[in-house]
């Protein structure tokens, strides 16, 4: 269980913040080695990702799929399920959303969008549920099967986009555009930021309410903390874990469907630059909390957009942002261990002290 290793509460916040600052320091060295000025690079990064309404819109547009995939992974991790398959679930959901968006005709906009996104959620959810079922019923390693499922999902949807659903004379593997009634509303002409962001915010609220105030949320958390205890006190852990896998895949599926309906307008092969994998990093860094997921998604969105901005002004390639992402998560992983070590030492100290006193 990945989750249990990380510190909780304020410790988590400071670990994350320290890691981010350290990563930027390491990034600064890379920028200097590259012959550029790190202060210029970082101020450009902030300016081009957050400095104006347009730039902020671009950042939030990238943050939108990350919120969904972050939620996808967070739901699974909180229930003690190591679902690494959000990327494949995203593609399956994207294709389902696209097909419903293309082939259902004559519906009012709200209905059409709702059905398309639901289709994405259901297909993505099923693509998670299958491997959850193999894990729960047959004890097949979930990490391995969901990694394999990523590639199966990507290959299968690529096949659909290149053969049965490819319009004639289309150059790359993509479907036709969805109906106008299935397009998510865009706030600005100059940005792909769309109503999907509001759906993402709503889902964050639903997620927080579900885990904090509902019976099922409580059961899922309990299963995540200790599934043997959960079974012992009479919870139907298998059924709940399957629902959790469905929900996890569902969020990833929504990520894909929203990308199709709001950004691309159709299914395009290779449309996700690893949003599913980034979702894992988002959930880990955010400690699975709803505000954390929002903050980290915006941070990662700003890094991605800011990286592109830096490339235009300096000689620093935009991939600086993925390097920073990787370093942040490595540092968090390392610090988590250091925190745990300090805690056990303090505890030992405490125990020793108390035995001496008694």
């Amino acid at each position: 269980m990945v989750e249990s290793l990380f510190p909780k509460g304020t410790a988590r916040f400071w670990t994350a913040l320290l890691s981010i600052l350290l990563a930027f320091a390491i990034g600064a060295v890379m920028i200097i080695v590259n012959g550029d000025n790190p202060i210029l690079a970082y101020s450009t990064m902030i300016q081009s990702s957050l400095g104006s309404v347009n730039n902020l819109a671009a950042t939030l547009a990238v943050a939108t799929p990350l919120i969904f995939t972050g939620l996808s992974v967070a739901v699974a991790f909180r229930t003690g399920l190591d679902n690494i398959g959000s990327e494949g679930q995203l593609y399956m959901g994207a294709m389902a959303g696209a097909l419903v968006g293309i082939y259902l005709k004559g519906l009012p906009t709200t209905v059409h969008i709702t059905i398309s996104i639901l289709a994405g959620a259901i297909v993505g959810g099923l693509w998670g549920w299958i491997f959850g079922w193999l894990n729960v019923k047959l004890k097949v390693n979930l990490v391995v099967t969901t990694i394999m499922a990523n590639y199966l999902g990507i290959l299968f949807t690529s096949y659909l986009a290149n053969y049965p659903f490819k319009p004639p004379r289309a150059p790359i593997g993509s479907t036709t555009f969805v109906q106008d009634s299935a397009r998510l509303y865009r706030f600005f002409d100059s940005s792909t930021l769309n109503a999907g962001f509001l759906i993402a915010l709503a889902m964050l609220v639903v997620y927080a309410l579900f885990f904090n105030y509902t019976k099922f949320g409580f059961e899922w958390k309990t299963i995540g903390l200790n599934r043997f205890f959960a079974r012992y006190i009479g919870m139907n852990i298998h059924r709940q874990m399957l629902w959790a896998m469905f929900a996890s895949g569902g969020f990833a599926g929504i990520a894909g469907a929203v990308e199709v309906l709001g950004v691309q307008g159709r299914f395009v092969q290779n449309m996700s630059p690893g949003y599913g994998y980034d979702g894992i990093l988002v959930a880990l860094l955010a400690g699975n909390s709803a505000p954390g997921i929002l903050a980290v998604s915006i941070l990662f969105g700003a890094l991605r957009i800011g990286g592109i901005g830096v490339e235009q002004v300096t000689n620093v390639p935009s991939e600086l942002s993925s390097v920073l992402r990787a370093i942040i998560i490595l540092l968090v992983a390392a610090q988590a261990v250091i925190f745990a070590f300090l805690k056990t030492r303090r505890k030992k100290h405490h125990e020793l002290g108390s035995t001496v006193r008694s």
């Binding site: 047959l138 097949v140 990490v143 394999m148 199966l152 000689n315």
Partner: protein, 311 residues
Amino acid sequence: MNWEALFGPSVLEASLRIATPLLLAALGGAFTHHAGIFNIALEGMMLFGAFFAIVASYYTSNWVIAIAVTILVGMIIGLLYGVFTIHLKADFIVTGIAINVLGLGLTTYLLRALFHVKAGLQDARIAPFPDINFPFLNSLGSINEIFNDQSLFTYVSWILVVVLWLIFYRTPFGLHLRAAGEHPDALETAGVSLTKTRYIAAVCCGVLCALAGAHLSLGYLNQYVINVTSGRGFISMAAVLFGGGNPVIIILVSLLFGFAESMSIRFQGIGVPGYFALMIPYVVTILALVVWSIQKQQKLQQAESAPESLT
């Protein structure tokens, strides 16, 4: 339909060529598998090797130096992975994903920072790994066509299969390595350092994965393309799990996966979708895991019911 083009010797020749990086990385994965490290970082380790091999070959035009640099880079990545997973006891999945993200990010960053190119690097200065010609095979027709004139590391990988099998199953170190995975406490009791054994495994894994990547860029494509591995590390991981770390099964599975990929290319060439052939490694692995899990469950059930039947 031209069956000769589909199933002729050239398909088998291509299968061997395609299987080589899968095999090399999987042999690396076998080290960590035996040592009890659940390694999903093969992909990232391969990318580092693929990139630095090209860089070394570009600046020196010498493939021997390229191999030396690749091995060094592989050792560093293996050590880095070891520091996080063994020393700091960080989670295998988190570390693995971080190494994969870092591999893709850093190689792309450096490619563009050093060479100012957009998608890849192709240059006359890059010295590829040599193809090896065995004169005694020349008169053997199809056999010659399939097995002769393969790239250096294709033959090296076959030799490694034998060497690693001997190391894993016939040497004290191999015993320690497998004990590190199966009975780590027993290993410590026997006075062998678990940490040291796992570090050796991580470093060997890094080196073999880096060589796998180097073969991709210098033995196969003779250029560097961004994300050149494109998921091959995970196919290798599948081969490791399928073979349970046994090099002999790993080479057979790698050849099967290589054959599947070369078939998919052929299919594509005659207008038949090759995607389903490309799915074979993943489907095969999932099915194998399911079958093993069912067998394990049955054994457990038998073990549970046995005492009852005695009473």
